[in-house]
Amino acid sequence: MDTPVARKKLGLKEKYRYLTRDLGWEPSYRTREEIHPYATYEGIKVHDWDRWEDPFRLTMDAYWKYQAEKERKFYAIIDAHAQNNGHLNITDARYLTALKLFLQAISPGEYAAHKGFARVGREVPGVGAQVACQMQSLDEIRHAQTQIHALSNYNRFYNGFHAFSDQRDRIWYNSVPRSFFDDAMSAGPFEFMIAIGFSFEYVLTNLLFVPFMSGAAYNGDMATVTFGFSAQSDEARHMTLGLECIKFMLEQDPDNLPLVQRWIDKWFWRGCRILTLVGAMMDYMLPKRVMSWKEAWEIYAEQNGSALFNDLARYGVRVPMGWEQGIEAKEHVSHQLMLGLYQWSFGTSFHGWIPSEADMQWLSHKYPSTFDRYYRPRWDHIRKLAEAGTPFRNVGLAKLCQVCQLPIVFTEPGDPTILCNRETVYRDEKYHFCSDGCRQVFDHEPEKFVQAWLPMPQLFQGTCGGGGIEAWMDWVNLKNGVDNGDFEGSQDQRNFQKWKGLAVSNA
């Protein structure tokens, strides 16, 4: 009689291969080109998808186990936060401005990333890349949902959170992140991977994540901190995917280098511009500040970024085209944008305010060569106007950049006293840009960017509620005198003070 021999157990690597790579197959009813129609049109050459190295190894059973554990922990903490009026632990109700901006500008971007990665997971022929992108797609929708849940408790008590979804589509400052993701999502799968997987989720990720999550920790916001911890290991996987994407493309064919470099240049610059929102948040919206935007840029962009590009130099990659301008910009952009957000706060679904003398001393200290010279005089005059009973409202609407869609608050490289004016004519139509970087993006793909839905021109075309400013506010679901304007005298300020008082007294 034959003794039954136990089958050998699969090793981890084998098990992973069976459950991922080996799920692929050679099609026989249709050609590869029919099934993956977007795989080659961008000009990226891939000769062997089997050379793709899995950036991480997760099978679905492990994925669900880890993610479910994170979700259980996350929602337990969110429930406790809500039940214990955790919102009263924030340092000051000014902090809520950072959260409103996050919910309107960032959370919908997570959802867009989810859609983008789902699409890339469908379009690329390599099974290893498909699996990694599909998991990132699941991560990103989880991030969108956990962020919304984390912030929902604040929506119960404070203004400006209620219409984030409509406002993402309709309010002017949100067209900045919206157009960023629309641009990536309407690009091909390889550009998307460089734009989001590499440039955003690897090169620049810390400049989004650290300011908001540390900002939350420093300002008593347990809900957002909890989101941050819940997302952190997902982000580690995203970074490895981004890095593998670029290495794979560069290793597959040297012809891919010029295209990859162009995308690095474009998306570094677009990322640099969109992060202006984070800079303003770090320097002005956190009652207890983590570090200055300048410091964050020095650590996460200059130091970490330089190390990365040194590493990629062996493939022929150079630092992105706007690198030097990004370094110069770190001294200025947070101030330039916050001054804008303050003077246009009649049109923001969050409060602005004039920085206090203590705030300005911190800014002076952190920006020794720029704050007192260029920006303090403006804030001082704004304070004078407020004290005289004529608070500064700039009812002149902003000129926007055709590409990054930010109000052009940026100044000429080398001269911070003059706005940067760049224009071009394409097919008899004039377009304006905030920088050479954005103009170059336009010049490479003008047909794409002439279609930009720019909020101010749209308002004048009558597509934003049809009438003047009141109709616009209605259309963007902004309650005048409640969601907008100065923090001083706001309902949020009054309520927070009142409830904190109630929490510690018996009056």
Binding site: K399, T417, N421, H432, A452, P457
Partner: protein, 119 residues
């Protein structure tokens, strides 16, 4: 350069003149006066005279600046599309060559209280 695409890619500009119901967009900024965070966008009739444009559209916007009261509109230096330019106040924007999405800049040398010295 064209957009890389699988078929012909034609972008339709969203902000062409025809979309503004007889009006046009004009941008104005006051050099070295960055109390105003950006240039301002105006939607006005091309038939508006330059004087009307300055007095009714531009002047109210710049009023909060400490230098505003001292502006002599006939002494300021003008630029259009970043080139030196001399407007005729009596004629219309169109007759002055101010077209759709043109940017006008003006300067008041010596009158720039809030501006830092240029390096």
């Amino acid at each position: 350069m064209t957009v890389t695409a699988r078929k012909a890619y034609v972008g339709v500009p969203r902000d062409s003149l025809a979309n503004f119901h007889g009006n046009q967009l004009v941008y104005v900024s006051w050099d070295r006066h960055l109390l105003f965070a950006s240039a301002s966008i105006f939607c006005v009739s091309p038939q508006m005279t330059f004087r009307e444009f300055v007095e009714n559209a531009v002047a109210p916007i710049v009023a909060p600046d400490p230098d505003a009261a001292k502006i002599d509109w006939h002494e300021v230096e003008w630029l259009k599309s970043n080139e030196p330019w001399v407007p005729d106040f009596a004629r219309s924007l169109a007759a002055n060559g101010v077209g759709h999405k043109d940017q006008i800049r003006f300067r008041t040398p010596g009158l720039d209280t809030l501006a830092a010295e240029t390096r």
